[in-house]
């Protein structure tokens, strides 16, 4: 049977409406004095997050070693070779690369081998680092519509490659970020301004516990009381994942149902790149936007302290190791930018595919993107 999977999963009408929504979104930001920026999708730096797994590639450094393929042993050193991060290869070893006897005869002339090892670059999980570097260098209000990549995220609401709208409001705080997020949501979806609900209020209301003060044993008991069968592999002290179980099962489906909900005040252990609330070390100045139980956006009152970022990176990498994942680079140009001085700001990232999905009443992101990963 002829294969039919060349066809898009979205109708042409949905793609037209997607284009309209993108135009409206750009108008929204343009009218508010934001500058649209573009930053690298491929970078030496990547966000260090316990639950975000970036794709990486090896890339030959520009102006590598001079051409020296004279003896027919020219290794095929692909300049853009996909390297699965799980099977991390040791830095390229010329001895092992010239073993392929078929290489010169059966392939078109390949690029010269490089004496210096290829460097590893990361497909961005969000344009956050680069945009903050622009802020540190004096950039003003800015937004970006970026393609981003996250490994192993696949489902009705996930595709490993997707479109993220990210913006920064320098000199503004979390309340201002939430207000703009609500305005954008209203402008595009027309479902009224967002209600505000704190993380603690949500847990109190939907589960009946205080997520900030409950001890680990009581938390485990609360999960089981809800009839949730936890993963057998889950450590009893892995507090945030136990909270996530309740979040996914009991809370998220109830958020943004009547009108959009802004959930704010996450536990400090889930701060990622947000500041901790002044005077309350348990709570991070982080928020998320929900519509119809679907998470649409995530915002931070941005962390400014490079020492604190370093500490969090170390902690995250220790967790990643315990999770059986590879560690991610702790050093980055963002740290340099923070040392040079990052202005106080609020930054938000919004999943554009999901926004379109909700605007069109679709049930999966595949209905609003031309070619999801299995047809990419």
């Amino acid at each position: 049977m002829p294969s039919n999977d060349f066809r898009p999963t979205a109708t042409w009408q949905n793609l037209q409406r997607r284009a309209d929504l993108l135009r409206r979104l750009r108008e929204f930001f343009d009218n508010r004095g934001f500058v649209e920026v573009e930053t690298p999708i491929l970078s030496a730096d990547t966000v260090v997050d316990r639950h975000l797994d970036p794709f990486s590639i090896q890339i030959a450094p520009p102006g590598g070693a001079p051409h020296s393929a004279t003896d027919g042993t020219s290794a095929q050193s692909a300049s853009l070779a996909d390297v699965p991060s799980a099977a991390k290869r040791p830095a390229s070893n010329p001895q092992s690369e010239i073993q392929n006897p078929k290489s010169p005869a059966s392939r078109p002339p390949s690029p010269a081998p490089h004496s210096s090892p290829a460097s590893r670059l990361w497909l961005q999980t969000s344009p956050e680092f680069a945009m903050k570097r622009l802020l540190a260098a004096g950039g003003g209000r800015m937004y970006q519509v970026a393609r981003v990549f996250r490994q192993d995220e696949l489902g009705p609401l996930h595709n490993p490659e997707f479109t993220l709208v990210e913006w920064y409001q320098p000199g503004e705080d979390m309340a201002a970020g939430m207000e703009l997020t609500s305005d954008l949501c209203e402008a595009i979806l027309g479902r009224g301004p967002a209600e505000r609900l704190s993380y603690a209020e949500a847990f109190d209301h939907f589960v009946g516990i205080d997520p900030l003060s409950i001890d680990n044993q009581q938390l485990v008991a609360a999960v089981k009381d809800c009839g949730i069968e936890p993963p057998a592999s889950l450590d009893l002290n892995d507090r945030d994942v136990w909270l996530d179980l309740l979040m996914v099962d009991r809370i998220q489906p109830n958020l943004g149902v009547d009108r959009p909900t802004l959930l704010y005040g996450y536990p400090a252990s889930q701060a990622a790149l947000a500041q901790v609330q002044p005077g309350n070390p348990l709570v991070a100045e982080r928020f998320e936007l929900y519509v119809d139980g679907i998470e649409l956006a995530n915002g931070y009152h941005e962390l400014l302290d490079p020492a604190e970022l370093r500490r969090r990176n170390r902690e995250v990498n220790a967790q990643r190791l315990a999770d059986g994942k590879e560690t991610l680079p702790e050093e980055s140009r963002l740290l340099a930018a923070m040392k040079a001085g990052l202005p106080a700001s609020v930054g938000v990232a919004l999943g554009f595919d999901r926004l379109v999905m909700l605007a069109l009443g679709a049930r999966s992101v595949a209905e609003v993107m031309a070619f999801p990963i299995d047809r990419a």
Partner: protein, 189 residues
């Protein structure tokens, strides 16, 4: 022993859980904000038909169940057991009335069915989607009545009864959809 990682989880996967074979009938990927990726799965016990809900986190794995599906023809019924033969190996398999369940209504000698084996023992069978059966008894048909919305019970050569349109007569061959038990059409010899 083969196993499946969460990234391989999908509907239809057959896995070993607490000593029994299960089939994954639903698998939903969920990820709260910046949180742990979770797979909310619904699994049906292939021996008992009971359903379980389980949550897995990314990186977890499940053992693959030793499940195999073969094509076998129905030979005969022996009291409460149904005997099938694998057309390739000539191996014979006996299924209980409970395992055959409602499918007895469609079973005729020589019919090619699919049989699920767990650790090489049969646990369930599925008849072909469409089967042709002969009507052995029914009330006489009303001549000229071609309406299909009025039905009458027709007893067929397997001993089962199916509601058929009024124009069906004794001796007719009728095609039945085994997934719904619905009459589809009359067929010629």
């Amino acid at each position: 022993m083969a196993s499946y990682n969460t990234s391989e989880f999908r509907k239809g996967l057959k896995v070993q859980l607490e000593g029994d074979p299960y089939i994954m009938i639903e698998c939903n990927f969920v990820k709260p904000g910046k949180g742990q990726a979770l797979y909310k799965c619904r699994l049906r016990n292939l021996l008992r038909g009971t359903v379980l809900d389980r949550t897995y986190k990314s990186g977890d794995s499940l053992e693959a169940a030793e499940i195999e599906e073969i094509q076998a023809q129905f030979l005969y019924r022996q009291q409460d057991n149904f005997v099938f033969m694998d057309n390739e190996s000539y191996e014979q398999y006996e299924l209980t009335a409970e395992q055959v369940d409602d499918a007895w209504k469609y079973l005729k000698e020589g019919m090619l069915c699919s049989i699920v084996l767990y650790n090489n023992a049969p646990i369930s069978m599925t008849p072909p989607n469409h089967v042709v059966l002969r009507v052995e008894y029914c009330e006489p048909g009303a001549k000229g009545n071609t309406a299909t919305n009025v039905t009458k019970p027709c007893k067929v050569d397997t001993g089962a009864e199916f509601p058929c349109p009024a124009f069906v007569n004794m001796g007719d061959l009728i095609k039945i959809d085994t997934r719904t038990g619905e009459y589809l059409e009359r067929v010629k010899e």
